[in-house]
């Protein structure tokens, strides 16, 4: 029957698969391990092979109603139960519920002598009995290679292992076989030769004193699978693989705009603020108010009733709350209303992948609309630059997929080029704000500008950035003949300008007065002249009248004389000739 099942499976287009239930692993394997076939998990000591196998069984038993059998060749059932209890797996309870059988296979070479031919039918019977006891669909053989240390006859062993894997296939169980990694080979005993359907390699690497676990599917017959090395982690919830590199650029975009919490900044960003679901980077030198801007965004989001996650790699939540209170932001209220969650940890505390995984987990649990990472640069401490870069890209993709607005702060150190981020993520951010110091006349002032903002008409102006008791304020900077001025220079420049204005005003008034005076003087002179003229006119008139009177008198006299002399009447000749001598 099992054979028939397998055959029908083989004719199917896609291989039937058994979901592992392990976070991320089902995504990269395209649905889990090949159903009814053995899967080999190899890796060096401490890579997490046993744990992966156990979780495969536990998830199968609890989530997919597929009971399992765990054949332990290394640890006793009690040890195993104890080891995985910290991960929240209660093997004993599962055994009681008949969902799981743990069978410890003890192999001691000293106890066994070999004489002649044998086979491993005993093991087969044991596995078979265990499978039958709970109706198991999943079987784990945890480090079956231990058989090689217990039994001498390698020829028999190899033949029997081959038979065992075939037998497991025939029984139709999905088997997971773990094996230690060998030198230059996947497994010490070359088990990959026998298990050829699916091989998964676990790796545990330490780079710069930080360890990272990675998983890679070496081979998966008959299925398309992710080929990369995927980081994974083991925490209190078990195993999780991060298949984030496979996300691609398929995320939806939103036209919705959200306020930055600083009205003037919104104005700079096309009047409406950031696009929802975009990545915003604010970079700047130390103490330029990056965290304050982030807090404004958080405050604004919480006011809208949205949930925010704040990852702080430098400050503790209490410190952050206290500091933000000084600029009039009460983040504590939001934290208490459970709209705001802080996650503070030192970046060097975990490896990068762990950080990524934690961020993933928390984001999935809290489902926020806004995520702040303050500062992203410190993640380099947890890994190297390239890793941090890829991790951040993955993180950005992840957040974008979920339509989460991401706000990253980045500290630019003095020596570096200013328009550059430590982790070189500037190309993947959508909006890049820049806060810089302007040092002038013995003081430092902050200035903010929008370096880029995709998809909106944003201001190209530099704004002075003030941290007041009421929060962040943006002011116009003074741009004049003496360049860009901020702070007290701006103030003094303003005073100087005022003074100059006053001087100009006075000058104007003085000129005005002058003109009036001049006009008055002119008018006075005109009046005087007129008076003179009038006087002269009077005099002239008087003269004329006198002359006329005199003429008249003379004429009268001459007439009288003529009358008296009885001279001839040639009036004109007489009058003209007689007049002249008189003058």
């Amino acid at each position: 029957m099992a054979k028939a099942k397998l055959k029908s499976g083989a004719t199917n287009r896609s291989l039937p698969k058994a979901l592992t239930g392990i976070q991320g692993l089902d995504e990269i394997t395209g649905g889990g391990f090949p159903r009814g076939r053995p899967t080999l998990i190899c890796g060096s000591a401490g890579a997490g092979k046993t744990l992966l196998a156990i979780e495969f069984l536990v998830r199968g038993a609890t989530e997919f109603k597929e009971p399992g059998v765990f054949m332990a060749f290394e640890e006793t059932a009690a040890e195993l139960a104890q080891n995985v209890r910290s991960l929240g797996f209660d093997l004993e309870q599962l055994e009681k519920e008949k969902k799981l059988v743990v069978d410890f296979v003890r192999i001691e070479r000293g106890e066994i002598d070999e004489t002649g031919d044998y086979d491993l039918e005993g093991l087969f019977i044991r596995i078979g009995a265990a499978i039958d006891a709970v109706g198991a669909k999943r079987v784990v053989l945890d480090t079956i290679e231990n058989l090689f240390s217990g039994l001498e006859n390698q020829g028999i062993l190899r033949a029997e292992l081959r038979r065992l894997f075939r037998w497991l296939k025939d029984r139709g169980v999905t088997a997971v076989i773990t094996a230690e990694r060998g030198d230059g080979t996947l497994t010490r005993q070359g088990l990959e030769e026998y298990v050829s359907d699916c091989v998964i390699l676990l790796d545990h690497r330490v780079t710069d004193q930080v360890s990272t676990r990675r998983l890679r599917i070496v081979k998966y017959r008959g299925t398309a699978h992710g080929t990369n090395e995927y980081p994974f982690l083991i925490d209190e919830d078990g195993f999780s693989v991060l298949p984030v590199t496979s996300l691609g650029l398929q995320h939806k975009v939103s036209d919705e705009r959200i306020s930055s919490g600083v009205p003037r900044l919104d104005t700079m960003l096309g009047g409406k603020g950031f696009y929802r679901g975009t990545t915003i980077l604010i970079s700047g030198t130390a103490g330029t108010g990056k965290t304050s801007l982030a807090s404004h965004l958080v405050d604004a989001a919480c006011r809208r009733g949205e949930r925010c996650l704040y990852f702080s790699f430098e400050e503790s939540p209490a410190q952050l709350i206290r500091n933000m209170r000084s600029i009039g932001l009460n983040l504590e209220t939001w934290a208490r209303k459970n709209l705001l969650q802080f996650h503070s940890s030192r970046a060097s505390f975990y490896g990068l992948e762990m950080h990524l995984a934690i961020i993933h987990k928390v984001v999935k649990d809290f489902d926020p609309q806004v995520v702040v990472i303050d500062p992203v640069g410190s993640l380099i401490e947890a890994g190297n630059k390239r890793d941090a870069h890829t991790m951040l890209i993955r993180l950005m993709d992840f957040l974008k997929m979920r339509q989460i607005t991401a706000f990253l702060t980045n500290l630019t150190s003095g020596g570096d080029a200013i328009e550059k981020t430590d982790v070189e993520i500037s190309s993947i951010v959508d909006t890049w704000l820049f806060v810089r110091d302007i040092e002038l006349n013995g003081e430092r002032n902050r200035a903010l500008y929008v370096l880029k903002s995709r998809g909106m008409a944003h201001s190209n102006q530099l704004r002075e950035f003030l941290l007041t008791k009421q929060g962040v304020d943006l002011l116009d900077v003074y741009v004049g003949p003496e360049g860009v001025l901020t702070g007290s220079s701006r103030l003094s420049q303003e005073v100087r300008e005022k003074a100059a204005e006053m001087v100009r005003q006075e000058e104007f008034q003085r000129k005005e007065r002058n003109r009036t005076r001049k006009r008055e003087a002119l008018e006075a002179r005109i009046a005087a002249l007129r008076k003179d003229f009038e006087a002269e006119e009077d005099e002239a008139e008087r003269d004329i009248t006198q002359d006329q009177d005199r003429e008249k008198l003379i004429a009268e006299n001459r007439e009288t004389m003529a009358k008296s002399r009885r001279a001839d009447v040639n009036k004109t000749a007489v009058s003209s000739s007689t007049k002249k001598p008189k003058e």
Binding site: E111, T115, Y118, E121, I125, G128, L151
Partner: protein, 127 residues
């Protein structure tokens, strides 16, 4: 497996139980006069099992005549014992008595090795 020796019909004792019982009696190492209690684990009637049984019988007749007992446990019938007694290989011969427990896997074709495994060679020499 119907030979002269008895084939277990009731549940055979697990090896742990056997060891516990032996401890009570406080015995250590085979002594010349000891009664031998042997158990042969087989799985069904495979040719290899039959060979093993025949070889065992021969050795016992030769070295332990009259003071041995062979119990054959068929794991197909008692699969729980495979786990309990930590049996992987078939056939496996277990020397329950005299103490301590010894396990020999294989069809006992190599008589010399079987004798050494059963510590019979040693017993012979001490005779």
């Amino acid at each position: 497996m119907k030979k002269s020796t008895k084939v277990s019909k009731k549940r055979p004792l697990s090896l742990q139980e056997v060891a516990d019982k032996a401890e009570k009696e406080g015995k250590e190492g085979p002594e010349p006069g000891d009664a031998w209690d042997l158990r042969l684990y087989v799985a069904g009637q495979s040719p290899r099992s039959l060979t093993a049984f025949a070889n065992l019988k021969k050795i016992c007749e030769e070295h332990l005549k009259g003071r041995y007992n062979i119990e054959v446990v068929d794991l197909v019938k008692h699969p729980q014992l495979a786990a309990g007694d930590q049996i992987l290989a078939i056939p496996t011969l277990v020397r329950k008595l005299p103490q301590p427990l010894r396990k020999i896997v294989g069809d006992l074709r190599d008589t010399e090795r079987a004798l050494v495994g059963l510590q019979l060679r040693q017993t012979e020499e001490s005779k």
